[in-house]
Amino acid sequence: MASEPVSIETLRAALHLAQAGGFCSFEGWVRNTNEGRPVDGLDYEAYDALATKEGERILDEAMARYDISHAVAMHRTGSLNVGDVAVWIGVSAPHRDAAFRACRYIIDEIKHRVPVWKNERYLDGDTQWVACHHTHRPHEHEHDHGSCNHNH
């Protein structure tokens, strides 16, 4: 969890291991619209201690599920503008398939489980807590917290 921008190069460097044949990453950016409304930026609020703990559990699960070398995740808190990096996931692995799949697993789990909340600022001056994600999780999950799931 990061309250200020983090160097992507630093995050990536931790993944650059001798046994890894490559890495793949996902960057989530602040978009300029949501559900048709022009967005000026957004504020992320997090339950930092639990978000860190749950994030580490997700990375551990990815290490156990997939044949990967290392995995790193970063999530911003605070005030972000359109185009800013909100979330960053990186996974290195001996072979690409595991890297892609683990990266997808981590971002999907973060969106479902990590206690972070998004307050959108609209161009008309209004703000609103985003109600729910409509994310798709293609892999099998033992978790179903009934909180925000539209995929069953």
Binding site: G28, Y44, E45, A46, Y47, A49, L50, A51, K53, E54, H75, A86, V87, I107, I110, K111, H112, R113, V114, P115, V116, W117, K118, N119, W129, V130, A131, C132, H133, T135, H145, G146, S147, C148
Partner: protein, 79 residues
């Protein structure tokens, strides 16, 4: 017993405070949430929330103890 509450996001705004100490006789968080929901008009039914006690996720049926820190976790929207 005294229970410490910490609020986040929409719940923090509706409660008008970040931290609160309540005196309660409820044995679990379910009836405590119902009471707070009534007081502050929280929009979420308990099925949509998770609860954390003393820094980690906990079942709604976990017995409350004096001094517990309870956090009600609205549907998360990170990423």
């Amino acid at each position: 017993m005294r229970i410490h509450l910490e609020y986040f996001a929409q719940l923090r705004e509706l409660a008008g405070q970040k931290l609160q100490i309540v005196e309660t006789t409820h044995e679990t968080v379910g009836p405590l949430y119902d009471e707070l929901r009534e007081t502050y008009g929280f929009p979420f039914s308990p099925e949509r929330l998770r609860v954390a006690i003393n820094g980690d996720f906990a079942p709604w049926t976990q017995p409350l103890r004096e001094g517990d820190l309870v956090v009600f976790i609205p549907p998360v929207t990170g990423g």
